[in-house]
């Protein structure tokens, strides 16, 4: 069964008088437990595709199914619920809530989901330990390094045990060492928990971790190949 299925997705943007093609007849199936990288230069459509898969942006036409749900047929509130319960997000710019501590940031999604306080606290501490942030639970984002913040974001993304994690350029703001640690963490989570990872990147070192590499250009998929993953040389 496919975790994600995209059929003929099209999306255009207007920039002044100019019409920019974000997605052009994109068809893609991603299986459960996959580790996929979307690669391509800036403006190739990888973030647009990732946003469409996450229900953050709706395509102009085409069908997109995540699990059993047709995202293009859901209301805003239903999309919010779908994201809350099924998808973990990791963004390029960490995107933590600055007034919440590391633990509270990780608990945030679970709290909105209504997970009991004790259970979510235990889960948050466990996941923070898993991403190597034991002892930093009470720190605010401003008191942590970029790498640590991105780890908190990863912990938040996986804490509610989603089937799918979408990561948009997760290593773009990290140094090589932190980037390697993060990608190793993704691989571990993929292998041990069976979480499906879809990562957009134009960093060739990150692409090396993927078992499937989807290349994009001008909103189209121009390459889709299976590969033998290898880790980043630090």
């Amino acid at each position: 069964m496919s975790t994600i299925s995209c059929k003929n997705l099209c999306k255009t943007f207007r920039q002044g008088e100019e019409v920019i093609t974000g997605l052009d007849q994109v068809c893609l199936d991603i299986e459960e437990g996959s580790f996929v990288c979307l690669s391509g230069p800036s403006g190739s459509g990888k973030t647009t595709l990732l946003n469409a898969m996450g229900g953050l942006d709706s395509p102009d036409s085409g069908e997109i199914t995540v699990g059993e749900q047709r995202l293009d047929q859901l209301s805003k509130a239903e999309l919010a619920d779908m994201r809350l319960n099924n998808i973990g997000f990791v963004f390029q710019a960490y995107n933590l809530i600055p007034v919440l501590s590391a633990r509270e940031n990780v608990e945030f999604v679970m709290q909105v989901q209504g997970v009991p306080a004790r259970q979510r606290r235990e889960l948050a501490l466990q996941v923070l330990a898993e991403v190597g942030l034991t002892g930093l639970e009470q720190r605010l984002p401003a008191e942590m390094s970029g790498g640590q913040q991105q780890r908190v974001a990863v912990a938040r993304a996986i804490a509610n045990q989603p089937a799918l994690v979408l990561a948009d350029e997760p290593t773009a703001n990290l140094d090589t060492h932190s980037a390697a640690q993060l990608m190793d963490l993704f691989v571990t989570l993929n292998q041990e928990r069976g979480i499906t990872f879809v990562i957009s990147t134009h960093d060739t070192r990150v692409m090396g971790y993927a078992r499937r590499l989807v290349s994009m250009r001008d909103g189209r998929i121009v390459g889709d190949e299976q590969q033998e993953p290898h880790t980043m040389a630090v």
Binding site: N51, L56, A80, F89, N95, I97, P98, V99, L100, G114
Partner: protein, 410 residues
Amino acid sequence: MRDSLAVVATLAWRNLWRNHRRTVVMLLAIAVGVWAMIFMSALMRGMTDAMVRNGLHTLPGEVQVHHVDYRRDPSVVNSMQPPSGSLLRALQAPPVIAWAGRVRVPAVLASERGNRGVTLLGIDPVAEAQLDSLPQTMVQGRFLQSADDRGVVIGASLASRLETRLGKRVVIMSQDPDNNVVDRGARIVGIYRARLAGTEDRFVYAGRAVIQDMLNMDEQLSEVAITADDYRNVDAWYPAIAAAADAGLEVLPWTELDIFLGTMLGVQDGFALIFMVVVFLALSFGLVNTLVMAVFERVREIGLMQALGMRPALIVLQILLESLYLLCLGLLLGNLLALLTIRPLESGIDISSVAQGMEMMGMGTTLYPVLALQDMGMSTAVVVVLGLLASLGPAWRAARLDPVAALNKT
């Protein structure tokens, strides 16, 4: 749902203090605004109370019982029997504190130099003293001592107009029930001073029994004046008196006896509300600006929360809660400030330097601000309701942000 509300409440509270300076400035603005609302209301309420109290003092009595035709024709013809039976029992039961029967008829008072139309009050001074309806200031002589006192007490202004003085004899003329002119001579035993010269000109006091005898009306009365503990709540207790009165009698509260005075309380509440709304409208610009800035500065965060699955309704709630915290803290400070500044002034503010003008409005030279729970409640309601309404705009705007655009905002 409870957990969602908890996280929203936490975020709202912490976000409020992200920009300390802006929050504190807004908080002070709300506090001063609330204080101004309550302080001005306290002054207005004190002023209105003084006017109503002085008006009731002249009326007097919070409830009056008359013959049904007395108000149309206040002559001796439309008199009533002294209270008895169920009416008397009602007058002797709480919340009635005191009552007095009096004769009140139009008359002419003549001195050796002139004459003037007056309202003749035949009273029992002992009963009237309990109603607090007697002239406060005797400038010469004494007041009446009993219902059988044969002297008269007139106002200083009337004495001046009639060119008479203490100890002089005057003639009282009126009509008896058969429309015959009756008169009797009486000596001026006292001269009183009232706040308004009009009162001094109008009211002449004499012993009730003496006037009843002069007017051939046996023990009949023109009116029964009644007082209880709180003139504001007269509507709560006067119907019981009305129910106990005979069919030929009319029982009316002061609000109907003196329409002007009666409307004063409503007008005061109306003015207070208008003043509060106007003050808040000025405040609301600051409040909306604070929230708009708070939303503007947190576009990415709001986009993030939406991306993570927070429903738009919770975003609206978060911004509204932030506003509510600010408003509630401002209200707390404002009310505290009002309490601290008004309580010490409740013993009276000397306004004698401007009191000449105020006297015309039936006020004295001392203003007693009244800190009323009602005003604190009204200002709280105005601030919370209008504040939340004003906050809906920024909150709605935040909830409608496109998460992708918001997350990409630099």
